[in-house]
């Protein structure tokens, strides 16, 4: 689950990481109050940041023509004008797709002159099954780019989960980044806080990019979390009721959310052949075989290992909400699940949705004979695939026809 930048910074603050002074605002008056407080507190400049779940905000464009979802402002009036221009508008970035995202909140923070930009992240290293702290002197750019072109500028520290990030490891990293003097201890404290935030929130990723070395009001150099991204691991959410409340459904696809209410795992894709499959691996493989025979899958849909008749009906309704769909492929390997239950679900769903699109069904496994009889007795026009390959070819042909 992704959360907003302002929420990420609240989680970091809770773990003891110093984040910029600031407030989130949903209306222009709230924005004015937040900016005034910062200027009154001595800030020379503030930054207004559109809050959406997508990267590339700074270089994004609003559909009303305004450029940039992140703006540094030197006066109260400028900050207010910027906030007002962003709120309620749709921001398109390289990560949002052409539809963009509605900005319903802006974060207003104190801004400082930035001397250097670092990259910092905590994530799981799958190859070692250990938490990994990753930092780079090349902040403010995509870490994938750094990894591809200057991998020597990325420093990694594996963390023993029983010990947590040790102070010496954090200091090593600070020194590797070129920090000296008092900044070493400050960076080490920050790294430990960021690691604690990752671990305690059951996060999948905590990323600070950039981590800025800024000139504070007193003229001293200080480390500051300029931008922060946190994704929470879905499997860990059950033990964090407070974090569950951070979900912003406006940022999620309504159709995928609806699918999750039926315990269905649905992901919309760009093609026109819908698929309904049991099991994640088989669902991916079904998409692949459609592509192999020249078609394009419209979605990933896993109905799970123990699908019921109601779930199959719900799955059909969800599939049909995608206007691109021209045909449906049902691919079920009923290991323990009863193929006849699935067949009854298919028949009920076809009748309930008045399906007119070509439907190809491949059923295999437990009680498949009864399932076949149910489909045959229904009087419905259903193309029967005897194997996965045949079914995939049939559905691709149906779309081409």
């Amino acid at each position: 689950m992704n959360i907003h930048e302002f929420q990420a910074k609240q989680l970091l603050a809770r773990a003891g990481v110093v984040v910029p002074n600031g407030k989130v605002a949903s209306t222009p008056p709230e924005a004015r109050a937040a900016a005034r407080e910062l200027f009154d507190g001595g800030a020379q400049r503030v930054v207004v940041k559109a809050q959406i779940h997508a990267g590339g905000r700074g270089k994004g464009t609003f559909t009303n023509g305004l450029a940039g979802g992140v703006k540094v402002c030197s006066s109260l009036d400028e900050a207010c004008a910027r906030a007002e221009a962003m709120l309620g508008q749709v921001l398109v970035t390289r990560q949002t797709g052409p539809g963009g995202r509605l900005v319903s909140k802006v974060l207003i923070e104190a801004a400082w002159p930035i001397q250097l930009e670092f990259y910092l992240a905590v994530l799981l290293d799958r190859s070692t099954s250990l938490p990994l702290l990753m930092a780079s002197t090349e902040g403010g750019v995509e870490i994938e780019e750094v990894a591809a072109h200057t991998p020597e500028k990325i420093f990694k520290v594996a963390v023993d989960p029983a010990l947590g990030l040790m102070p010496y490891q954090a200091r090593d990293l600070a020194v590797a980044l070129g920090l000296r003097g008092d900044l070493i201890a400050a960076a080490a404290r920050l790294f430990q806080g960021v690691y604690r935030c990752w671990w305690e929130a059951d996060a999948a990723l905590v990323e600070i990019n950039p981590l800025g070395l800024v000139t504070a009001l007193d003229g001293k150099a200080r480390l500051m979390v300029i931008d922060a991204k946190v994704s929470l691991e879905d499997n860990g959410l059950f033990r964090h009721e407070d974090l569950q409340n951070l979900r912003d459904l406006a940022e999620e696809s309504p159709i995928e959310t609806e699918a999750s209410h039926h315990d269905l795992n649905y992901i919309k894709l760009e093609g026109n052949i819908a698929c309904l499959v049991n099991g994640a691996g088989l669902a991916m493989a079904t998409m692949d075989i459609i592509k192999h025979y020249g078609g394009n899958p419209a979605n990933f849909l896993d109905v799970g290992g123990g699908a019921t008749k109601e779930q199959v009906t719900a799955a059909f309704k969800i599939i049909l909400k995608d206007p691109n769909v021209r045909a449906i492929l049902v691919n079920i390997f009923g290991g323990i699940m009863d193929c006849d239950v699935i067949a009854q679900g298919i028949v009920a769903a076809v009748k309930e949705t008045d399906l007119t699109l070509p439907l190809v069904v491949r059923l295999e496994g437990n009680n498949v004979e009864a399932g076949n009889l149910t489909l045959a007795a229904s009087g419905l026009t259903i193309i029967r695939g005897r194997s996965m390959a045949e079914a995939a070819q049939q559905v691709v042909a149906a779309v081409a026809a």
Partner: protein, 296 residues
């Protein structure tokens, strides 16, 4: 010999009185698996299906029955504890079916398993089947949730991150008359017990296994690591299939571990690594068995 479990392996079920655990304990008993004990804290002294004794702790169950392998069917919030209880009781094999265990719990478990004798399969996996000689392969050892009847005793090993895709491969083999030595579903989570590579090593050393189907999917680099090892060490034909060639980057495809992130973990990279190592890759999931059988 098969790998990991044999038809005479004594099995216990953790969470035997829950609906999920009970259902699959019954299916394993019907399959002929030697389910010798169940464990549900607080229900010690009762019997499952009037025959299998239930214990309060895994340690008691192991002491009283000599069980050496366990299948875990408990909810995600209790699963880490259940795995470590099995490890502490000295089980040789723990199979965890549970889906939805937090990654942080699995990180701790991996750390605790290091250097110890217990092997973990899963979590979020269909489990392990060593088929038996009876009708519908009955008389075999079934730990987990795989359908027993699709198997047939024989000489092909199957290792996979996915449940239904494993059944698909097994069924293709069985329909073509090729039986299996052991079928292992290692699970779809990013942090899990035995890896593809560890299972491949066991198959490589198992005289009863003559060829292997290895099914991977997007996410992580476990398939690449297995490929690198196979290039030097494979003593028998291995055929690969990688699911998710059409999966979009950055989206989790059902399994917690099936995600392309930062450009890493693509199907294309895995397929290339396998081919480079001399492993034949099935063009589609429909020809996994056929691709292997042609090479035997």
């Amino acid at each position: 010999m098969a790998i990991l479990v044999q038809p005479d392996t004594k099995v216990l079920i953790q969470g035997i009185t829950g609906s999920f655990g009970a259902r699959h304990a019954k299916l394993s008993l019907d399959y002929g698996t030697r389910v010798v004990a169940g464990v549900t804290p607080g229900k010690g002294g009762q019997r499952f299906e009037d025959q299998v004794p239930i214990f309060d702790t895994v340690a008691q169950a192991v002491r009283e029955t000599g069980a050496t392998a366990s299948a875990i069917f408990v909810p995600p919030s209790f699963a880490a504890d259940a795995i470590l209880e099995g490890v502490a009781a000295g089980l040789e094999l723990v199979v965890c079916v549970t889906e939805g265990i937090p990654v942080a719990d699995m990180i701790k478990i991996k750390r605790a398993l290091r250097g110890g004798p217990t092997r973990l399969i899963g979590p979020n996996c269909p489990g392990v089947v060593t088929p038996g000689d009876g009708p519908g392969s009955r008389g075999g050892c079934r730990l987990g949730i795989a359908p027993g009847y699709i198997h047939k005793r024989g000489h092909i090993g199957v290792v996979s991150r996915s449940g239904t895709l494993t059944y698909e491969a097994v069924w293709q083999l069985t329909c073509q008359g090729a039986g299996q030595s052991t079928c292992v579903g290692i699970g779809g989570d990013p942090v899990h017990g035995l890896s593809h590579l560890e299972v491949l090593k066991l198959f490589n050393d198992d005289p009863e296994t003559h060829g292997v189907i290895m099914i991977g999917e997007i996410g992580g680099t476990a398939e690449e690591e297995a490929a690198a090892w196979l290039r030097q060490n494979a003593r028998k034909p291995v055929v690969g299939f990688i699911a998710g060639a059409t999966a979009p980057p950055g989206r989790r495809m059902g399994h917690a571990g099936a995600i392309i992130s930062g450009g890493k973990g693509t199907a294309a990279a895995k397929i290339a690594a396998l081919r480079e190592a001399g492993v034949a890759v099935a063009e589609t999931p429909a020809v996994m068995a056929e691709t292997l059988l042609k090479r035997l």
